[in-house]
Symmetry: C2
Amino acid sequence: MRAVCVVGLGLIGGSVLRAAVRAGRPAWGVTSSTSDAAAALDAGFAVMSTVDDAVSRAAAQDALVVVAAPLPAVGDVLRTVAAVAPDCWLTDVVSVKQPVADLVARIVPTARYAGGHPMAGRSVSGWPAGSESLFDAAPWVVVADEETDPAAWREAAALGLDCGAHVVPTTASEHDAAVARVSHLPHVLAAVLAATGAGGGPLSLSLAAGSFTDGTRVAGTRSDLVLAMCEGNRGPLLDAVDDALGRLGAARGALASTGGLAATVRAGNSARAELMALRADGREEIRIDLTDPEAFDDLRSLGAGGGRVLRFEDEVAICDLPG
Amino acid sequence: MRAVCVVGLGLIGGSVLRAAVRAGRPAWGVTSSTSDAAAALDAGFAVMSTVDDAVSRAAAQDALVVVAAPLPAVGDVLRTVAAVAPDCWLTDVVSVKQPVADLVARIVPTARYAGGHPMAGRSVSGWPAGSESLFDAAPWVVVADEETDPAAWREAAALGLDCGAHVVPTTASEHDAAVARVSHLPHVLAAVLAATGAGGGPLSLSLAAGSFTDGTRVAGTRSDLVLAMCEGNRGPLLDAVDDALGRLGAARGALASTGGLAATVRAGNSARAELMALRADGREEIRIDLTDPEAFDDLRSLGAGGGRVLRFEDEVAICDLPG
């Protein structure tokens, strides 16, 4: 099994390291946080003292390097990769994909790179918040763009599967548009809801029940992490915010004019039902032959339809699609 | 202990009936839903066949009548109360308070009425969704307006406490403004978020993780219940939606111009911290003498500050306030 070098040991990176070890892979990590490093060492994991050391070891062992740093720190990590392991296997777990792809193309174009993004989060952060089971049954995007090296895609996808996730193939731009809607917009709306509730004073907050508690949960996430995530996906997030503003404005107009919210509420109810249906059982199994020249087209179609890769059997990807 | 007659045996009414019986009170219910009636009977509760029968029995036993019907059905229930128990003890558990107070003043002005609203909900409905512990440790508003009869307030508050809740005293209009922000707006934003996410197609929904799942949870509530709740609080909800639109528009403007979301995200983070602080331990105990002519002023101030009544000891309300 290919060794794994995880750069960044926060919630996501720390969980990748644990899950890779659980899968039986040789694995080590490195982090600029002395407290996360100490905690990981205490827990018995291999932690190198510098990024240079960690990535040099990856070069020596032909390991897969996983960049698990926040977007603003990715450039620095890639410069080290370019210096000591320029043709390494490379993936990342950053929450936007096009900006990371652009950085890789500029800084370390010789790396065998396929971007990744496990869709698992918590409103707490750092090594202590992670776990080896964080990704179990979660979606893990692995970017399959026209220019992605199929062997690099397979390496990144194998890591996601080994970590307990299922793999969703899509393009970087489609990923970024999708997560703007289902991951970044929820943070913006949670912040707006929390502030509007608190604007009603202590009485309002004292009456808050499940709808407000759930709707504001992710507003409790560390602001710098939310900002790095949302601001790093500015263009797609603007589109998503505009869509939400249009829908909220329409609700406002209907409430003011006729007093009716039926269109808003029914659309939301049916969208939520779609979400639940997508997660229901009764999915259809399909197989994609990875040696087929059109395999990447098939993988992208799979992802666009809500499908996922469950495992590899030799050169065949065993997948399923919503029924 | 005063007997309780619950009109409406859905999630909330059905839970009130169970919790009243758990508290040792004589209690019976009635519902227009034959399936809820059958389920309540099967579970061993007393269920009358008509509202007229149930309320007549309340008149005979000087019971507290609890209106647990959706707002559009409240007028009909009150007309029956006016016909067979015009001076009964009366409260309700409807999610808006001024519209119900207006109906009571018009239809059954002789009732000894104080409005109530337990702040506990689930996205499922009907008798089977209820439980005797639904209100444990939840806030339960009991309206203490200038014109509220103090004895009626005490009866309604005692029911809330007996059901395991703590009682939040406030005015009908302050209640309606507060719940617009923390209970109705969350439903509107959840609907907007769900629809915007689904607008991204199956790929978007397949990538949705905790932030989207939590943020859209209440969009799964039955649409007719959400509509009755939100549309019944039209004016205050418009104010809350306008507040949210302003905040979301400001976020949009900042993202488009500078690319920065710090003001939005930090305001949301600090509002969420306020919510958590309000729920933390270390609250200050205070006592309000209910025989004091200013007791209602004190109770309203208590509620405005995020405080609550925990229990009665004779004529004293034992309360606490956030520390």
